[in-house]
Amino acid sequence: CALRARDSWGIFAFLCAALCNLPAVPALNGTEELGAGQSIQKTYDLTRYLEHQLRTLAGTYLNYLGPPFNEPDFNPPRLARAEQVPSATVDLDLWRGLTDNARLAANYRAYSRLLCYLRGLDGQVGTVELRHRLGHFCSSLQGLVLSIAGVMSSLGYPLPAGPAGPPAPPGAPAAPNDFLKKMDDFWLLKELQTWLWRSAKDFNRLKKKVPPAVVTLRMEARGF
């Protein structure tokens, strides 16, 4: 395995390590970064899986809300109330310039909040099938939040303080009427979708930055 820190060789080195040495890797500092690399990959995979799950869930839920919510070009106004849901949309340069910590923290905060709102959705929804799908999605989303927390701790970053549990987020009154609630639900699903797209890119970026260089260094140290 080459000893240069370039991306493709780095990936090759990482693969070598994974295939040949994984059981034998000693518990050095190296394993933490190695662990982080795997966690990041897992988190990335989880976002892709959730994205796929969301497509089915959103389809079913929007059909439940009825037209025009399930029409493809539907674009209702985002009322002041809807600003409660954290937005994934961000300036490109700003996004590029994010530190790893800030990037991970933004993801963590967003999904924790989104999970809360989604859980709030659960009790009032009509059909049994929809409730099951929502419940399943919430569990998977919880898994994502934990996965992000895992990455942060393996990289030594502190977890951002935030809404930890299920209770309704503070200062968010229930929508004053049923139609506005439907619009809130629509934006929640939209924002969830945008976040999952964005997270895939976030974790792809992190994947490239974290494991290979470190692993290559470790392998140098062990005389490969």
Partner: protein, 424 residues
């Protein structure tokens, strides 16, 4: 210019992208209505927006409503008249929306149109091995499905006890509930279902039942189907009684159903009684059959009522022996004749061995050898029946065949037979 100033201020205000909290208000907001009723709704636009009534339009579930049904009630208020409403398209409510001319949504109202519930009907329950109780019911009317209707199953012990509410719903379909524990035997239960939606409440009739009268169990285990010796038309079925109820005193009835592999018609054997084996007769030889068994634990603890049949066991397959009379798939056209003939020949050779001298090495093998030779020499099959006697004579000397007319005796050896005509 001074005229431009307010316009500029307005533009700045809009550019700041602060949407008004509620651009318009619809009345009535989220009403509940009976099917067939009419509704007049109004949309009042916020003064900030500088929109007038003629700039607005309505949609219902995404479809634009005809302008003929609109009436301007004021400079910023437009109303729409809806007549003879159908049941809601979705349980979350029909979406009645007030739009500005460019299509933007100003406000919306969810219309809940349906019928009040009627008494749920057809309550039926069963208990699996006396451990739990599952009940199903049917909604009183189809109209309830337009609105979200909540069903609650309640039960109490007759003569005493408080009302209990079932918690686990949808275990056996959308209108079902499961009570997993704390069920008493020997005292009847009173069971009923309450249905409620936005338009009203309805309570079913009370059903009274004793757990012991509605017991069902698992299907019989270890179902084995096997042949009965060489009998072509019979199969023997054996099973074990369901283990869960083995400690309880009950009589158990069984039922068997079977079908041929490529048919979908099941034949049922009803009078199996409480044995754990049965013989199926009158079957087709050489056929694959699928067999299932189920159990009814009636008479538990002396209950007089029939219990409830369990599910059928998983199908078990077995085949009846293939008869030699049956035309096989492998032999060509002469096959049927062939097997009959072979049997006869075997019997004949056996007899010959007993009753003649010098034919000790006579056997069906010799016949087979001759057959092979026959094929090679392209003789037709019609001659088959007569040839063996000719062959016999060649090997054994004169033998009086027991039944057939005396064949012509050839003095030459086997292979030379081809030269002679042995046609009869």
């Amino acid at each position: 210019m001074p005229a431009l100033l307010p316009l500029l201020l307005l533009c700045l205000r809009l550019l700041r992208a602060e949407p008004p909290a509620y651009p318009a208000v619809i009345s009535p907001q989220d009403p509940t209505l009976l099917i067939g009723s009419s509704l007049t709704a109004t949309c009042t636009v916020s003064a900030d927006l500088r929109l007038r009534a003629q700039d607005l339009y309505w949609t219902l579930n995404g479809r634009r409503l005809p302008a003929a049904s609109y009436t301007a009630l004021g400079p910023t208020t437009l109303s729409v008249a809806l007549a003879r409403l159908n049941g809601s398209r979705q349980q979350s409510g029909d979406n009645l929306v007030c739009h500005s001319r460019d299509g933007g949504i100003l406000a919306g109202s969810c219309l809940y149109v349906g019928l009040p519930p009627e008494k749920p009907v057809n309550i039926s329950c069963w208990s699996k091995n006396m451990k739990d109780l599952t009940c199903t019911w049917a909604p009183g009317t189809e109209g309830e499905t337009f609105l979200h209707t909540n069903y609650t199953l309640k039960y109490k012990l007759r003569w005493y006890g408080r009302d209990n509410t079932c918690q686990e719903y949808h275990t056996a379909g959308p209108y079902s509930c499961h009570i997993p524990k704390d069920l008493a035997l020997f005292t009847p239960y009173e069971i009923w279902v309450e249905a409620s939606n936005r338009l009203g409440v309805a309570v079913s009739d009370v059903v009274m039942l004793d757990i012991l009268d509605v017991v069902t169990t698992d299907p019989p285990s270890d179902v084995h189907v096997s042949r009965v010796g060489d009998l072509e038309d019979q199969l023997s079925v054996r099973w074990s009684s369901p283990p869960a109820l083995k400690d309880f005193l009950f009589q158990a009835k069984y039922q068997i159903q079977y079908r041929v592999e490529d048919s979908s018609e099941w034949k049922v054997v009803d009078d199996v009684g409480n044995q754990t084996s049965c013989r199926l007769a009158g079957l087709r030889p050489g056929t694959v059959y699928f067999v299932q068994v189920r159990c009814n634990p009636f008479g538990i603890y002396g209950s007089k009522k029939a219990g409830i049949w369990s599910d059928w066991s998983n199908p078990t397959a077995a085949s009846t022996p293939r008869s030699e009379r049956t035309a096989g798939g492998c032999d060509p056209k002469g096959g049927e004749q062939n097997t009959t003939l072979r049997r006869e020949l075997k019997q004949f050779f056996g007899w010959v061995k007993k009753h003649s001298y010098g034919c000790s090495n006579l056997s069906i093998k010799l016949y087979d050898q001759w057959r092979v030779w026959l094929q090679k020499s392209h003789k037709t099959r019609n001659q088959v029946g007569k040839e063996p006697f000719t062959l016999l004579s060649a090997h054994c000397g004169a033998v009086d065949p027991p039944v057939s007319p005396s064949p012509r005796v050839a003095s030459k050896q086997g292979p030379a037979l081809s030269a002679g005509s042995t046609r009869r």
